[in-house]
Symmetry: C2
Subunit: 470 residues, 2 copies
Amino acid sequence: MALKDVVAGKRNEEGIASALAVLKQQLGDRLQTGQAFREQHGHTTTYLTLQAPDGVVFAESADDVKAVVKVCSQYRVPVIPFGTGSSLEGQVNAPSGGICIDFSRMNRIIEVNAEDLDVTVEPGVTREDLNVYLRDTGLFFPIDPGANASIGGMASTRASGTNAVRYGTMKDNVLAVTAVVANGEEIRTARRARKSSAGYDLTRLFVGAEGTLGVITSVTLRLQGIPEKIAGGVCTFDSIKAACDAVIMTIQMGVPVARIELLDEVQVRACNAYSGLNYAEKPTLFVEFHGTEETAALQSQQFAEIAAECGSIDFRWTSDAAERNKLWKARHDAYWASRALAPHLDGLSTDVCVPISRLADCVVETQLDIQENGFLAPIVGHAGDGNFHVLILFDGKDAESVAKTEAFVARLNRRAIAMDGTCTGEHGIGQGKMSFLAEEAGNALDVMRAIKMSLDPDNIFNPGKLFRLV
Amino acid sequence: MALKDVVAGKRNEEGIASALAVLKQQLGDRLQTGQAFREQHGHTTTYLTLQAPDGVVFAESADDVKAVVKVCSQYRVPVIPFGTGSSLEGQVNAPSGGICIDFSRMNRIIEVNAEDLDVTVEPGVTREDLNVYLRDTGLFFPIDPGANASIGGMASTRASGTNAVRYGTMKDNVLAVTAVVANGEEIRTARRARKSSAGYDLTRLFVGAEGTLGVITSVTLRLQGIPEKIAGGVCTFDSIKAACDAVIMTIQMGVPVARIELLDEVQVRACNAYSGLNYAEKPTLFVEFHGTEETAALQSQQFAEIAAECGSIDFRWTSDAAERNKLWKARHDAYWASRALAPHLDGLSTDVCVPISRLADCVVETQLDIQENGFLAPIVGHAGDGNFHVLILFDGKDAESVAKTEAFVARLNRRAIAMDGTCTGEHGIGQGKMSFLAEEAGNALDVMRAIKMSLDPDNIFNPGKLFRLV
């Protein structure tokens, strides 16, 4: 197929047939083409239409990845990496077909360097498996997007989650990756030193590229010491504004809070019902502090003072592990709790991120929008980062409901961008947010496109994501 | 001049003459071509030969930068950005001539967002000026490479320094930049949200690019609250190994040390003599803790216990500001103190960075190398990051001394790379470390080259730095 058609994202029937035939010979049963396998690998936690790949390779080594990339490069066929399929914006869909690389068998821990607080893993390792493996070392990997995502997927979407306010996002916690690039070679983006000023930051370029520049084959991560003491609590407020003020002041005062999560009244109601809790149905902050016995207590006290100053109604503090785990389990189940508010409806989870000074404005305006349009849509957010999620419950079979939901998402994204924020703090662009990335980036999108075309001239790596090339 | 010659870095006489003529018309006295101006702008704190540009533009706005880039792009003439000229690897040299853009007049603070802990500045603002400006806000910008460098230059070389162990490097503290790219347009790499997963991380691509992808016209930085309490101290050890063990354990235990600097016995001797101190001439750590009264004391106590366990001889703790300032003044003057050991000689300052578990090995092997070759070469390092500097005193007029020094630097760089470290933790590549970047990056250098050629097809942005294109 001609390059211009490939770049335009057209489906390359002939190339796909050839690639499948060659890969079947090279990889045998590691390539699967049955409909169930294919549909599983286009199916994500998403509101977008399923677009299945033509074949799924269960890669067992970087050599398998190289083989797929070489063949797909030769025949100009899309390559779509797949971790656990928990991405939310259609990142693993295959709009032009192609070969999905499933990383579930590349799930080895390659090397732990406890003294250096780093670990190198294959991309299919999930964050929960990694933390189970690390437990005896006294170290842990802090990034927690909720889902038990794969490390490769988390790197590719620049994931973050509840702990990011303290430990940063994948941008901050990936030391290096190896990746197979368009010529089929494997590159390594950096060494294990904690910092470097040696040339372009290729690590940060692959982190968040959503598989569009190459296929990650290993990830070296920074680790943290397991805190001696973890304490937490639940703090309620009469208004979103008061809760956000407490967040802003906590961040400004430099209190090293490990988690500070905002739930609006609708979200609290959903969590109460789903997780058997009895929190006041008011704007609420879930907080957590990591440190020694003394520092965790100090931080907690500092936070309580700040919250009181901002008009908190109640702060229930706990250092009891069981109670804390129940709280965070409820937070992690917020998605399912929200879905349970209306089990017959579909759910669309979207996220934006604004400078924290604008968080209250953005949430309050969004709540008004929800009310005015009669949506049921709980809000929960990583408030310390200015990042929040809205889960809109809608009827995916009703064209009007879909159109109304899409219009709401568009207003939300534009509201965030207008506040000097971003159309996604952690879900990524995928297929779902391409138009908002274009609005947000402006002419910087041309620079992104130029990079894409220079590193992937045949447009084989996860095409149809992030932006259109023509 | 033909593209292939430009890409090869040949001097484009005709193009330079035309660009100078057009720019003189457009910019008047803001363009200077006198020899003194030109030589000042090729002269850096470097051992490399001066290569002056053909003209210096004192830019006063982004429009001036756009004008220079447009003209230089039209005539295929190099554009070399210049902050304060404190870079160490020849970053501002002009090996093919061209136009230097001096940013000293673009030194405005554009916007402080105290609630969001961020500030946007023009690239010519120096870090000391920024901190003076910020003082009343209760915020500060923590990155401190020693020199009073410009923010644009610090972003371009991915600078770090003594505070990086706690606050990160420029990679972590730049939220966004605006930059003029090859087509003469200004792009903005990101918004002010604290995190984003919206497309490629162009911010991190421009940070550390050493001006080779475009010219930075503004930088948005993260700020920190000025700590309520700063305490510090000096801790001596009988061996480098013992001092490094204390560093490793401090990092592993998660003590949020703000600075932890290693000085070898030669460096302590130099500092004693230069700064009127009387520290024991033994491997020494300078440490600093930031926090509240309680947390700074707690951290200090934790560190003292760790140091004692690792065999420290003496820990002199202080929370007295005057004494602390004297200590850090001495640390910042380490370069001049070292030069004063042999005022008739030249000095070459080089840096490498290794995983911290290898720091003791790397420093000890380097000390042996220094002894075996009869160098006078103090070592001082940002030990918490595994980063250290060697200042080799040598005779720049003696070819044998130069050759011996270069061979030493090559061994040092290869030693660090062999330990899975990097050939530069914070000085950058410039001209001086191009061969070591090639060794370190391997085939990842092809990816860097591809990016460079896609964003700067005429090779106008700071050519002859980082890597050769052909």
